[in-house]
């Protein structure tokens, strides 16, 4: 194909010499245009009016089925090999091609109109009332004011005020935005910033702080500071950061406050809140001048700049005075524990891959019921060497199953088209009791190496719950690929952030949660929704229905075409193996295209064995799908055998009934045309009844499609066999009069009736016996559904998490935007549409990044506040 493509490329004169240099003049468009360089306009559409037809056709014929049909059609043009007229293949092919072409064109037009305005994810409305704390602030409590002043000053948030009074904040992490917003609601409105200043409206008064330095956040420092000069000339350093880090740098005088705060922090952490400690320090002018000088030198240093800066920061960020602590409720979205429980019941294995810290990840694991106190043991793999990781994994495995072999049992097999694909499957091992596994990013890096990955997979698969924390986007994808490769399992990845994209793309099914974290995950996903709990509807209801429908569709499709073909096989013994068709050529043309198209479409759109509420009630309905029970090789063979039986009936009953017989006026009825009509009518009626048996959910549309198709068949048949059609297109419609002459015969209808019944009776009897002797879960639920009322929709009860674990987390794990806010870049009026997505940080997709409730701790006189 590559050869062909390059050939076409040459043909179109597209081949160009590799470009080595470009001449450009800044801001001189007309000059630049003279060179006719390729422009950088983004084109999302594939076709234009001229290229549509050839390109689209070329693409369509790359599909195996279409190419096959084209090949068949070419064969049929050769009279020596063709047993059918050219139109029997040409009409369906044209139909399929034109439908696809219309769809492609439509898609293309839609893509062209794609809207890029998704990235505005502007600030939502804000409602707040809290009188006690507001009063404290209003009364001028200096600590409380300093607390909020810090929140309003120490951050890298960008304000966005398009209209007077409509203020939006763009924050690197949602927590940061929440904290600034909280300050705003307590009367410290962060209004705007320039590289040298920050404008804050404090209790209604506009105050402009001179911004002297931003000591940016990074993963090692785990804190950020700003140094500002108030209009009165007071120099202050405001610092916020992880509690442990801040506490190390406090002035000894804060000891008492630290104790109280520490107690509160433990409380917050126990509730799964993400905490930060806040501190400040007054600086004197001379020290600052000197420090600034050194800072300038360090930041312009050519070598070891980072280290020098870190040293400087370290020097100034000490002897801080504690202001208090904040806690952001990392509230789980509604229904997360219930969803996970449901999915577990459906026998879906859930692994959590998160960038969060181990403590946070564990807390979330506990809060959403993945880790449970009653688990036998939770293994934590956190070694820093390959040997250590190996040892920890092996120990865990031995504990779970002492008899487990050293080598994993790998089953090698072949699968796929023509069994070309080699597969390796690691077998599941039996474990008593429930275990959990927590592995961090460092260890995971070793565990994902070639020699350890099977060990990881074995151990992980023996645990009920697997949590990988502190993992990089690449590792997320690697874990998914590992499971895909050695478990031959269908994987689904769900995430909401940009760093979930690789994982979403690696998995079979990618799901993006649309929310605070930008749209990258959503854009690269197959499905997207706003909340994690919709996953259970996606899988347990729509996924299950979809699988059911697809399998029914496939089985029915194979059944109807095998039967159709097998009848010809039997007829071959009676026509000298001359490939004479049993049916009218027009019937062959329209059989798949019209007569049996809509009913099966109706089936595959509307069918449901049980409705959504029952699907939720019994998540185990999902399991047959995981075992490929509805359409497997076995099911395929069964389908073939059924087709074989049906075709025998469909040929030999009409054969025996019409053999040597005549009409009720003595004239011919055993002629080829009458026989063809009889056989095809039998076939179509049998197919319709079979479809009706397969349909579990008869909507009005299904009724309309089934009856309409049958009626359409008779209408079309009578039309095509009419005098008029024959006289206009004499050679195309030679069956003139056949319908009239044979469908008025009682023995023809008796034959049709007998044939249909004989085809259907064994199927009904067999299904009935199966339901009686070995009812599937579906049969049981359907039976229950008939006798009982609908189960109520489950209400999502908020489960209070009880845990003693402590979390300290509110920053992103990446470098902050300090450089950006102190540069002048952001002052450019960049159109909103092309603004790069700023929010690339993700938390666990289970966490709802919108802080939902603000609470005050009244007994905290310092105003330590937990937004």
């Amino acid at each position: 194909m590559g050869l062909v493509a390059s050939f076409f490329g040459q043909l179109c004169g597209k081949e160009k010499k590799p470009e080595e240099e470009r001449h450009l003049r800044a801001n001189d468009r007309s000059f630049n245009l003279t060179y006719r360089y390729a422009n950088n306009a983004i084109k999302t559409s594939k076709y234009n009016i001229l290229t549509f037809l050839p390109r689209n056709l070329f693409e369509q014929f790359q599909r195996l089925a279409n190419a096959y049909f084209l090949f068949l059609m070419i064969l049929q043009v050769i009279p020596q090999v063709s047993s059918l007229s050219w139109f029997t293949t040409a009409v369906p092919l044209m139909f399929v091609l034109s439908i696809t072409a219309v769809k492609d064109a439509n898609d293309d037009i839609k893509t062209e109109k794609v809207d890029f305005s998704w990235n505005q994810l502007a600030d939502p409305k804000f409602v707040f009332h809290d009188h006690s704390l507001l009063e404290t602030v209003k009364q001028g409590n200096p600590d409380a004011q300093a607390f909020f002043r810090l929140l309003a000053l120490c951050h890298t948030v960008m304000p966005d005020e398009k209209k007077e009074g409509e203020l939006y904040y763009q924050a690197q992490s949602p927590d940061e935005g929440a904290l600034v917003t909280a300050a705003r609601n307590f009367g410290f409105v962060f209004r705007s910033r320039t590289p040298e200043s920050i404008t804050v409206i404090e209790m209604g008064k506009q105050v402009i702080y001179e911004l002297l330095a931003v000591l940016d956040f990074n993963n090692v420092r785990k804190r950020m500071s700003v140094i500002v000069r108030s209009p009165e000339g007071k120099l202050t350093l405001f610092c916020k950061g992880a509690d442990t880090i801040i506490f190390e740098r406090l002035h000894p005088s804060c000891k008492k406050l630290v104790e109280v705060t520490n107690k509160h922090l433990s409380e917050y952490a126990g509730e799964g809140l993400r905490t930060l400690a806040l501190a400040y320090k007054d600086l004197d002018e001379s020290f600052m001048d000197e420090w600034k000088q050194r800072h300038h030198e360090a930041s312009t240093a050519l070598v070891e700049r980072e280290e020098k800066l870190d040293e400087l920061y370290e020097e100034i960020e000490k002897d801080l005075l504690l202001l208090g602590a904040t806690a952001v409720e990392d509230k789980l979205q509604d229904g997360v524990p219930q969803t996970i429980e449901q999915l577990a019941k459906a026998d879906i294995k859930i692994w959590v891959l998160t960038g969060d810290k181990q403590e946070t990840a564990e807390n979330i694991g506990y809060s959403c019921n993945m880790l449970r106190e009653e688990m036998k043991e939770i293994f934590i793999v956190a070694a820093n060497t390959a040997e250590g990781v190996k040892e920890e994994l092996e120990n865990a495995r031995r504990k779970m199953s002492s008899s487990s072999a050293d080598k994993p049992s790998v089953i090698k097999a072949r699968a796929g088209l023509f069994w070309l694909q080699k597969t390796e499957t690691v077998q599941d091992e039996k474990v008593d009791g429930e275990y959990g596994l927590v592995i961090n990013g460092h260890s995971l890096a070793f565990a994902l190496e070639k020699d350890l990955q099977l060990e990881l997979l074995r151990t992980a698969c023996m645990c009920q719950t697997v949590i990988c924390c502190r993992v990089t986007p690449l590792q997320k994808a690697q874990v998914v690929q590992l499971v895909k490769k050695y478990k031959q399992a269908v994987t689904l990845a769900i995430g909401d952030g940009a760093n979930d994209v690789s994982m979403i793309k690696a998995a079979h099914i990618g799901v993006g949660i649309s929310g605070q974290e930008g749209m990258q995950a959503v854009l690269s996903s197959d499905f997207s929704f706003a909340q994690f709990r919709y996953l259970q509807r996606l899988l347990l209801v729509h996924g299950r229905w979809s699988y059911l429908r697809m399998c029914k569709f496939l089985q029915y499709f194979f059944y109807k075409n095998f039967t159709f073909t097998f009848v010809h096989f039997w007829y071959a013994f009676f026509c000298g193996f001359s490939a004479q068709t049993v049916y009218d050529e027009w019937f062959i043309t329209l059989y798949n295209l019209m007569y049996t198209a809509l009913p099966v479409l109706g089936l595959s759109i509307f069918d449901q064995d049980v409705n959504d509420r029952w699907s939720f009630q019994y998540p185990q309905l999902y399991t047959p799908g995981q075992l490929n029970q509805y359409f497997s090789k076995k099911a395929f063979v069964r389908c073939m055998m059924k087709s074989c039986y049906s075709s025998l009936i469909l040929f030999f009953i009409p054969w025996a009934a019409m053999h040597d017989t005549v009409r009720d006026d003595g004239k011919d009825i055993a002629d080829y045309q009458s026989f063809a009509l009889l056989a095809q009518t039998c076939l179509l009626i049998v197919m319709s009844i079979q479809l009706s048996l397969d349909t579990h959910y008869w909507t009005a549309v299904n009724q309309f499609f089934v009856w309409g198709s049958l009626a359409g068949y008779f209408a079309i048949t009578f039309t095509m066999y009419s005098n008029g059609m024959f006289l206009i297109f004499t050679s195309a419609f030679p069956f003139i009069g056949t319908a009239r002459n044979s469908l008025n015969q009682p023995n023809v209808w008796l034959t049709i009736f007998l044939t249909s019944l004989l085809c259907i009776l064994p199927v009904v009897a067999f299904r009935f016996i199966l339901i009686q002797l070995r009812p599937t879960i579906n049969d049981k639920v359907r039976h229950k559904m008939r006798n009982e009322a609908l189960p109520a929709t489950t209400k999502h009860v908020h489960v209070r998490r009880i845990s003693t674990r402590r979390s300290g987390y509110a920053f992103s794990h990446s470098q902050g935007y300090g450089d950006l806010v102190t540069s002048r870049k952001f002052l450019l009026k960049i159109p909103v549409r092309t603004r790069p997505a700023l929010f690339t940080e993700t938390d666990s997709p289970l966490a709802q990044n919108q802080p939902q409730h603000y609470r005050t701790i009244t007994e905290e006189p310092e105003g330590s506040q937990s937004p």
């Binding site: 009279p79 047993s83 809207d115 502007a122 409305k125 804000f126 409602v127 707040f128 809290d130 966005d160 398009k162 409509e166 019941k345 706003a530 009676f574 026509c575 000298g576 001359s578 004479q580 509307f606 019994y618 185990q620 009953i653 009934a657 053999h659 040597d660 017989t661 005549v662 003595g666 004239k667 011919d668 055993a670 002629d671 080829y672 579990h696 008869w698 909507t699 005098n723 024959f726 006289l727 004499t730 050679s731 030679p734 015969q745 009682p746 008796l750 034959t751 019944l757 009776l761 009686q772 002797l773 009812p775 049969d779 639920v781 359907r782 039976h783 939902q852 409730h853 609470r855 005050t856």
Partner: protein, 389 residues
């Protein structure tokens, strides 16, 4: 302690995106309609004992009487068959079938006596039956030109390619063209009643009304119908007869309404059979008008067959041997029969449907009993079983 809510989402969790300009993006949420939310009202039948078992019994109860009716009807039809192929040395037609060649000019006649044990009432239908004749062979079936047969002048002069190699002969178009027409059955069958007093009375045979009305009046038309001063001979001028025919198509019958393409023997032949063993209506013996006498009383009859060409042969030979008419036609595995039959509302004699209905009805009834037992023994236990959670 006061709590405030931070309204990021609607009740249903769907985020409404508000741009800084205040414009709201169109929500992509599907409408809350029964169709889009897959909540259309529906009938959900399941296979329960209450529906399946009665169905089996009812089908059994309906099928058995229908089957008996069909069987009795079929048995009441009288049918008599004579094989006149002449394979055996002793057969009267042995000589004709062995010595006859395509080039022979003198017809060969053989006489077969037979005895009807029962009188045949009302109209009696006379069929010729052929066995092992693959009229349904793909290349045979399409070797015809419906436009030509419909009286189209262009097709008359330029037969369709489908007719090859029977489209032209001596550069003249063949009318009617194609292998089907070329191999038309042209034995002449005559029936005689041997009166008990010794006289041999020829039975009058009707050759009108043996083809489908639509074939006779719509599908087949003579060329040049309706043109002034046209007779069939001039209409077919410039064409030649099919190779195996003795007479041109416009001399098939003396009667104008049964000559040319609308000759009913020809039309019957052109309606190709579905199976290699078939019968085609040859003549009708009308019941006498007074209605007192049976159409064919019990007694001795004679069938006289005038051989014009040998017909029954395997089509593969047929197609290829006939490519050159001089090639002598040798053996064939086919059989030729003459059938006399009365008819009923269900057509000719065919006991199959009756037997099949009785059998299927009985099987249904039996299955019903079996299913009932299965249901009683196992069904209740299994279906009432709880679903493990």
């Amino acid at each position: 302690m006061m709590a405030s809510s931070y309204n990021a989402k609607d009740e249903d969790g769907h985020i409404t995106v508000t741009g800084p300009g205040g414009g709201t993006l169109r929500s992509k949420k599907p409408e809350n309609t029964a169709f889009k939310q897959q909540r259309l009202p529906a009938w959900q039948p399941i296979l329960t004992a209450g529906t399946v078992l009665p169905a089996f019994f009812i089908i059994g109860l309906i099928f058995i009487p229908i089957g008996i009716g069909l069987y009795v009807t079929s048995n009441n039809i009288k049918e008599f068959e004579v094989d006149y192929t002449g394979v055996d040395m002793s057969s009267p037609c042995f000589n004709c079938s062995q010595n006859f060649s395509w080039n022979s000019t003198t017809p060969c006649t053989c006489t077969i006596p037979f005895f009807l044990e029962q009188p045949y009432e009302s109209n009696v239908f006379m069929y010729y039956g052929l066995s092992n004749f693959y009229q349904n062979h793909r290349r045979y079936v399409k070797s015809r030109d419906d436009s030509q047969l419909n009286g189209d002048m262009t097709s008359l002069k330029e037969p369709s390619k489908e007719c090859e190699p029977y489209a032209y002969h001596d550069n003249k178009p063949i009318a009617p063209c194609g292998a089907i027409a070329n191999s038309m059955f042209n034995d002449t069958l005559e029936l005689f009643y041997n009166d008990p007093n010794g006289t041999k009375v020829q039975i009058p045979l009707t050759n009108i009304g043996i083809a489908w009305w639509t074939d006779k009046h719509v599908k087949f038309k003579n060329p040049g119908v309706g043109e002034a001063n046209q007779n069939l001979t001039t209409a077919f001028q410039g064409t030649t007869k099919p190779l195996n025919w003795r007479r041109p198509v416009y001399e098939l019958d003396a009667a104008a309404n049964n000559d040319g393409f609308i000759n009913e023997d020809f039309i019957v032949w052109m309606r190709t059979a579905a199976l290699p063993t078939f019968r085609k209506l040859y003549r009708i013996i009308k019941s006498p008008s007074n209605g007192m006498m049976p159409t064919m009383p019990r007694g001795n009859y004679t069938l006289e067959v005038v051989y014009i060409t040998t017909m029954s042969k395997n089509l593969r030979q047929n197609l290829f041997n006939q490519l050159n008419p001089d090639y002598p036609v040798r053996s064939f595995e086919g059989r030729k029969r003459m059938i006399l039959s009365t008819i009923s509302w269900m057509g000719g004699k065919n006991p199959f449907l009756g037997i099949a209905y009785i059998t299927v009805g009985s099987v249904c009834f039996f299955l019903g009993v079996v299913l009932l037992i299965i249901h009683h023994k196992c069904g209740n236990r299994n279906n009432s079983a709880d679903i493990s959670n």
